[in-house]
Symmetry: D2
Subunit: 343 residues, 4 copies
């Protein structure tokens, strides 16, 4: 770092404020209509897009880490991914909170310029769709799929398709979970406490069920005891399920602290995306009611459907149903405990 020879950096140049602050041209100005709130409408969407870019940046770093064939425990890799995904959470919290600013725009003030925006629509935010795809939303899961193919221009469809074609974080996490050694240790898998760990766990789980919960056992078998047919639409494999549940159950052992935080943060991101959609729905309803959105969509309905179906790590979230209290957990064999700890 040759400090002396570098050109001095100036704040506004470093941030390229000539671009950033000259990118607001209200349509109402062009039409000679006074609509003081259009500036807000433009700027808040630009602020969202900046944050979306940052989220994509963080997800790229995280994916880069998980793409490695192996993640050694003694590197800061997992620590780094947890840190970055927690940052994504903090950004999404800002995104949710920011909605309060848009809510200061009343319906009547929006109507002053709304017609001028047609057929543009927030639905056309490519970066948001790329975030969903990068996290793991598959094209098949998308609500209003066809619509999305007709609404976006070709270049934008290509960008989303490209994001969908790459290995998503979900796929990489599934593979990382599958690679975990714990369930492969025979002394653990077959003989924990003198018996097969999962058989023991299944028994304890069965005993813990209330009458109204009996059907959970069937799902238990599907997810964890499975060595036969497995539903194609499931995105986490039985191996991954077992290791994920194992992490949730034994997160008190040092080596599982961070993997647990990682899984927890993924669920938090899903929750925040959902909160963002719900807050967005309310804002749309309060602003345009049952009017058709500027892009021609049925306004809030699209968002509501997405809020219900665009959960990405849903299968991980469902594992919570299969936890047992600590005092009912099978004790792990000493060799395994040792390998979960520090030197």
């Amino acid at each position: 770092m040759e400090k002396k020879e570098r050109k001095p950096v100036y704040y506004s140049e470093y941030l390229q404020l000539d671009k950033i602050l000259n990118a607001q041209e209200p349509e109402s100005n062009k039409e000679g209509i006074r609509a003081d709130d259009e500036m807000l409408f433009i700027i808040i969407h630009q602020a969202y897009e900046l944050w979306f870019k940052q989220i994509l940046h963080e997800l790229e770093v995280v994916r880069g880490i998980f793409k490695q064939p192996n993640i050694h425990n003694n590197t800061p890799d997992i620590y780094n991914t947890v840190h970055r995904l927690e940052r994504v959470s903090r950004i999404l919290e800002v995104a949710v909170g920011q909605m309060a600013v848009l809510e200061t725009m009343t319906p009547l003030d929006f109507l002053d310029f709304r017609d001028l925006l047609r057929p543009a629509s927030g639905f056309q935010s490519i970066q948001f769709k790329m975030i969903e795809a990068t996290l793991g939303l598959a094209f098949e899961q998308r609500h209003a799929k066809n619509y999305y193919l007709t609404q976006l221009n070709e270049a934008d469809v290509a960008l989303v398709k490209k994001a969908e074609s790459e290995e998503s974080l979900l796929v990489l996490i599934n593979r990382w979970l599958e690679r975990m050694p714990f369930i492969k240790d025979p002394s653990y898998w077959h003989e924990a406490e003198g018996a097969n760990f999962w058989a023991t766990y299944r028994k304890a789980y069965e005993e813990s069920l209330q009458d109204a919960e009996r059907s959970n056992l069937e799902t238990f078998d599907l997810l964890f005891m499975n060595d036969g047919s497995y539903p194609a639409e499931r995105r986490f494999s039985p191996d991954a399920n077992r290791n994920a549940l194992f992490i949730m159950l034994y997160r008190d052992y040092p080596m599982l602290h961070l993997p647990y935080e990682l899984l927890d943060t993924l669920l938090e991101i899903d929750e925040l995306l959902s909160m963002w959609r719900h807050r967005h729905i309310h804002m749309v309803q309060r602003t345009i009611g049952k009017r058709v959105g500027t892009g021609g969509s049925s306004g809030a309905d699209y968002l509501r459907a997405a809020a219900d179906s665009h959960y990405i790590f849903k299968e991980l979230a469902e594992l919570t149903s299969f936890l047992l209290p600590r005092h009912l957990l099978p004790k792990l064999p000493d060799t395994l405990i040792k390998s979960l700890g520090y030197h």
Copy 2:
């Protein structure tokens, strides 16, 4: 105020901290089980109940104001109601934010004492049900009605029944809207711009509709042009609808500033209650998954159904669909404009 003769007030006595801070007896302590998080579970619910009491207090003051046969414009009455309902919003924001503290309790930590709480359940919060009823939720609208009759003890059912039997804020607001003089002024109602105001407005509205929105016109007629049969389940009358829409359209005139803020704040309260339920749902899902709730309910399902059906001022929210941009609004007659202003 005879300052000299009053007994000096002491902080902890004034706040009755002997009661407040000695009201936490974890069930796990009684059982000799270590469950450090039960204290949090108790305290956060007590904090919620304190805030619910405060919300009920504010709603009582607001109802007291609206119960008057007449509200004179030159009293601070409406100003006061807006102020208090905005405070309710601030409290609900705290209630939503507070969920972040409960989310620090992991599923496994909850399992340490969860079974000890059966069959208690947050569903048994009487104050929350009283808030819903006081705002205007009718017994018929409640999700899981029967359940609620079996789950609560008799005294508590009586309390909710009592709240449901009183005139709710919704009923009082409907009546207040109906009393508004604007639509009764003949020069306005019949002859604004040389024609009946609503006929003029309807025409402009019709012209503004996109093809996909044609069916809105039918609802328009039902809500605003109605002098015949009217659906029994609708809780705001045509008179109230007309005045509410009028307020939303002409809120720029001084006398309508505060009525507009009032309606807007009611919608904000609905939104915050909905956010609270959604955040609550996520928290429950993350904590117990598809397990049956401690009270025997299907956990998150109850909350989800309530989040969808317990909108109280829904009919007011829907009026947004019938707004027109300012430049299309019928001009008001001068006499009416004058009566909407200051001396």
Copy 3:
């Protein structure tokens, strides 16, 4: 609005995302150094600058309103200014909350690229200085004045100077307060309750003082009873002080509702700017400690001094010391009461 003939609007073009999303060039990239967090550093500052632009936009609209020679009560002008200043508050809340994202950048991660940024500094944010100047911060009040003349380039100094040379919101508000008719009504000024209003009020105020507060009376006389010499550094005149206090005391009368909200919102903006500085100070301390800032300033010290001395509406805030409880307020004459109400 000729909807049919307008060119269709496309989201990314409308928002000029080609500019917004291509304005991030980390210095570390140029040097071939890996510093994953520099992107965050750039983007969060750009998001701040977008919000600063929006704040300046709102303040321009508000100033435009107050620049009118007269503001008629029956226009939506004051309502509009309150609405826009409350939006500025919401934006500042986002600005404060956003700091939580920057706090995810650890000191060590910042050190990876910090040296590359010299001598750039957040101190060089022209828009932030323009906000301060537009609100009413005078050049003389600025902490580190000389520093600011040497640190910025000429064009930027000119921009701040220009903002400082225009009539600030503070100046306009002072004039608006001075124009208020209340204290000019002879029946009120001289004969409220059979005596001069201010003499009556002063007497009641004096009686309300605790021993330790006696010196408040001197300030009372300076601010409200003044018809002689008045400190040059005071920016609100005695006429403005009297009317501002009057608004605070009698805000329950309809015509004073919005003026009260206006004054309250100005204080809230000051508070939020202060919170922003304090949060910023902590962030700087946590990140660089007692190191010299990239711009050469003594890091957190500048911010701390600004946080203490850059209060803009401080004189309005101080008026709170001179309130009396409602039951001790002089009753207003009926003619005045009438003129504070609706038709």
Copy 4:
């Protein structure tokens, strides 16, 4: 856990709502004065006290862990302390946010009942003082010490004294840092990279200093190179300083992840306490201005002094000044690296 035989738990009994919801007796009611906002004043303070109890509960658990003569790396102890201290942060965020509710009480509304509360004061919150003492605030550091001895009743003084007499978290953390083995490993202490680690580090640090930062070196020597006289008022010893800085520098190694999070969370708690005080100051200023507080204190002045002097982990925060960028850090010997990793 004999589920069958336990008495069924009922929500309102479990939470002892008969106590919680019957602990509000406004003084204004007793005097027959209408002051609708006193209920808010009582309830928000009770909510604060509930949260303070929870914070004390968490700090007790954390202190219990650190009181152990030794903390083995393979227990969940440190993980648990980080988790609990992060919860304290979340609670303090709620406490800060909650201030927004109190700010809805206008000065005039407070004046309706303020005189009735004398001489009670928030200063008398024993639990808050116990939190400060438990974290590590020494009696000597307290602002307005004498005042506090006269203002509280005897039982309350005894409670604070007791808290001050116990080993605070700060003392325990200092001892935990001193116990760390790293700086005792001779190959590390004397011979990292062929030389004494601290001599090497000092040299690199010296080279990194800007001219204006030269005096930092003196402090460096005092804190880290010290084997002679050491200022009595410093609460972290040179051994503790060295290990704390070491943790901050090498937090990328697995065994230091959690210790780093722990130190970071302590600084966050200090920051949030400071934010709480600042927000509190503003609220007090907005409400009573320069009036004397109900307890006789100079209102906001006490809080401001406390905000400046009651930083508890200040010495840890200052260590940031002595960090170096990763690329300048001395490489650790392999044996040490190995002992910082997993099996």
